[in-house]
């Protein structure tokens, strides 16, 4: 397997950054990491995962869709679409890597979201296998093996060297473009590292969590559950869970009058918000209970119902650590599951 030693990693980054924009996770504060555009000398974070997910690169929080301008009494529409430049996201974890599959189902099915597709076409996802999962991790619940992270290229770390495994043609091209920096290496230690990580996963507090009680066929039962009242009681209706979630894909389209023309943009929206999908008649989900239920029903029931049983959650655990009042999908699943 091709490898690079940990000490040479930055040389690799420099090389990538010569040709494309490279994003790597860096520490903002100790063990709090975020993706940053790579600049020479940056150190990759050792934190397990970034605060915000990697979906931002393909489905940014806001993006302009079109522009109009009133000149006199006529309206001129400006098409601002343009081909994206190539970029690389390095260090994506297995959970986030899986989330692209979920987002693709939404944005790449007909009608194709050309803005999303443009970014997907030009972005290379380099993943990083997990060795030290946290107590909030539950990706295995959704059948994800964090030691085999996927993406265009999977990267494994055995403590000394980073090993590269391409999974797609795009990944193959990527590895080829940096192959002169890589060398063939002994990957024998990797299996041990992976086995070790898998064993830890089994010991995690949420290891026993199962999706058995969920899926499209359980719609009415869960929808009508009397547990929602209690579960949603303390929800403040903020969008934290939604915005840190790698799979949440809802957005709103708005017009912004700049004074010199209109910019039509879309921005993330959250089904937890009181004005989500507000229409002329008002709001379709008027209570926080309904809104709260919507978010979890979507991930656990509606999404699998429409997508061959695939759940809309990847178990990254971000919402577990970020919810202001510590209410989250795990608590919902545990409350609703068959006892």
């Amino acid at each position: 397997m091709l490898k690079i030693s940990a000490s040479n990693l930055n040389a690799l980054f420099d090389r990538i950054a010569e040709k494309q924009t490279l994003y790597i996770p860096v520490d903002r504060e100790p063990n709090v990491s975020e993706y940053k555009k790579y600049e020479s000398g940056m150190t990759m974070s050792k934190a397990l995962n970034t605060v915000r997910s990697a979906k931002d690169f393909f489905f940014p929080q806001t993006e302009n869709l079109a522009e109009f301008k009133m000149s006199g009494k006529t309206i001129e529409v400006k098409d601002i679409r343009k081909e994206n430049e190539d970029f690389v996201v390095f260090g994506v974890r297995a959970c986030d890597a899986r989330s692209f599959g979920i987002l693709d189902k939404v944005f790449l099915s007909e009608p194709v979201d050309s803005f999303y597709k443009n970014r997907r076409d030009h972005g290379t996802i380099v993943t990083m296998a997990c060795t030290r999962p946290a107590e909030t991790c539950f990706c295995t619940t959704f059948g994800i093996d964090p030691t085999v992270p996927g993406g265009d290229v999977s990267v494994f770390f055995d403590g000394e060297n980073y090993f590269f495994l391409d999974n797609t043609p795009k990944g193959e091209a990527f590895v080829a473009s940096v192959s002169d920096l890589l060398e063939n290496g002994d990957a024998s230690k990797l299996a041990e590292v992976q086995e070790n990580a898998r064993n830890i996963m089994k010991k995690l507090p949420l290891a026993g969590l199962s999706t058995d009680s969920f899926g499209g066929e359980r719609l009415m039962e869960h929808f009508n559950s009397d547990k929602w009242a209690e579960l949603s009681e303390s929800c403040f209706g903020c969008g934290t869970c939604t915005f840190v979630c790698p799979t949440c894909q809802c957005y709103d389209i708005r017009d912004f009058d700049t004074g010199n023309g209109i910019k039509r943009f879309r921005c993330w929206d959250s089904c937890m918000y009181s004005d989500f999908t507000k229409m002329a008649h008002g709001n379709s989900r008027n209570s926080q209970l309904e809104r709260f239920r919507q978010r979890f029903m979507h991930k656990l029931v509606y999404f699998p119902a429409n997508n061959d049983g695939e759940f809309g959650c990847v178990g990254c655990g971000r919402c577990l650590s970020k919810c202001p009042i510590s209410m989250n999908i795990v608590k919902v699943m545990k409350a609703l599951e068959d006892k």
């Binding site: 912004f256 700049t258 004074g259 010199n260 910019k263």
Partner: protein, 146 residues
């Protein structure tokens, strides 16, 4: 600081109907010059000026915002400008705290008789804002003129 001679700042002035707007009228009646950069918005009382309006002006490309009201104690509505004074003091303090240049904001008391003061205040304010250059710290890039 270098002054860009070609820079013509956009200045929004909120003037209360009873004193400052009349003061501005008086400076016109007396043909006292002040730069055309200043555009006045008439409000019933300085206490009608919502911090939102001030921020909105900066968002949309204003380089300076000035509020003018009756002198304390002379408010047509007896107490409006006292509230203005507290609100605007705190708002300006917050803008300062966020690192926005101090001279982009001002509050002045101009009575209906102080046409000369109105012109002098505006001349000074425009000059101060010119020295600062265009508002970059509190603008909305989307609104920048192409």
């Amino acid at each position: 600081m270098q002054v860009n001679e070609n820079f013509e700042p956009v200045i929004v002035a909120f003037c209360c109907n009873w004193c400052s707007y009349a003061g501005a009228d008086l400076s016109g009646t007396n043909r006292l010059n002040y730069p055309a950069n200043v555009k006045i918005i008439r409000v019933p009382c300085s206490c009608r000026v919502n911090p939102m309006f001030i921020l909105r002006a900066f968002q949309r490309g204003a380089d300076g915002v000035i509020i003018c009201g009756c002198h304390p104690g002379d408010c047509h509505y007896t107490s409006g400008n006292y509230f203005t004074r507290r609100r605007i003091t705190l708002l300006y303090s917050m803008l300062d705290f966020l690192g926005i240049e101090r001279n982009r904001t001002r509050l002045e008391w101009v009575s209906a008789a102080e046409g000369a003061k109105f012109a002098a205040v505006m001349n000074q304010f425009v000059e101060d804002v010119k020295k600062l250059g265009p508002n970059r710290r509190l603008e909305d890039l989307r609104c920048r003129k192409q």
